[in-house]
């Protein structure tokens, strides 16, 4: 507890962002290609345990088919489990579970345990990235550059995950193309 408090106190906001993104990647099956939307869904499921898909859909304003796909992905990667809904036999209640719960709790630790703050972080990062389907990899590039102020391409790459160098470069190049990241000649 004390160690955690000290760790948080000694961490800059840019570093906190990097650590939180790392925990979210862990929580989502170590897949850095996971969208920020998927991360938001996982946070929402943890915030409202036992929610049905329609309740999540209403809260997050996600299209039904898109949410179906994400929930299916989360289930296949062991992030969530279903339980029969005693109130309505046609729907199922969804709960976060296993390693996802542990990693998400670690991320929440940096937001004073507030799901709303974590959701806002994801929403605002998505707004910063201005992409249709921003990923946690994109978010990590932005957070690393925010922390470092300026960095060589290789330094940014080193901060990323083991998702394949070409994928990382593609993500970075897209951020340069869209003007989120600027490159000195």
């Amino acid at each position: 507890m004390v160690t955690n408090l000290a760790k948080r106190a000694m961490t800059t906001m840019g570093q906190k962002a990097c650590i939180v993104i790392d925990h979210l990647v862990e929580a989502l099956g170590a897949d850095a290609s996971s969208s920020l939307r998927r991360a938001q869904i996982l946070v929402d499921i943890d915030q409202y345990p036992g929610s049905t898909q329609s309740a999540i859909m209403d809260r997050l304003n996600v299209h039904k088919s898109a949410l179906n796909r994400e929930i299916e992905w989360l289930f296949n990667y062991g992030c969530v489990m279903f339980q029969e809904n005693s109130a309505d036999g046609r729907s199922k209640q969804i709960y976060i579970c296993g390693y996802s719960k542990k990693s998400l709790d670690a991320a929440l630790d940096y937001c004073e345990g507030s799901h709303e703050k974590l959701k806002f972080f994801l929403h605002n990062t998505s707004k910063t990235l201005k992409q249709e389907k921003s990923t946690l990899r994109d978010a990590k590039i932005v957070a690393s550059l925010y922390e470092k102020k300026e960095a060589e391409k290789q330094d940014v790459m080193n901060a990323l995950y083991d998702g394949g160098t070409s994928t990382d470069y593609r993500a970075l190049n897209k951020l340069v193309e869209t003007g989120i990241v600027t490159e000195d000649a």
């Binding site: 840019g14 962002a17 939180v20 937001c111 972080f121 910063t128 925010y146 060589e152 990241v181």
Partner: protein, 67 residues
């Protein structure tokens, strides 16, 4: 060298402040010694506090009031 555009850095910074910034619960605040003394005094010492003036006190800059 790579860096974030100013717009991106500002937007991202706003999110960080809202999500990870110091909240009222963990902000360290500093008070003047007399403020702390007043805050910690026992309840019965309130009787020693100056009574409310009947007419509003005219506050003047130090030089004028001294003259």
């Amino acid at each position: 060298m790579l860096k974030l555009s100013d717009t991106a850095a500002n937007t991202f910074s706003h999110g960080l402040e809202m999500s990870f910034g110091a909240s009222a619960a963990n902000t360290i605040r500093f008070y003047k010694p007399e403020t702390l003394l007043a805050a910690n005094r026992p309840i019965d010492t309130f009787e020693l506090a100056a009574s409310m003036p009947k007419t509003p006190v005219v506050t003047l800059p130090f030089e004028l009031s001294a003259a």
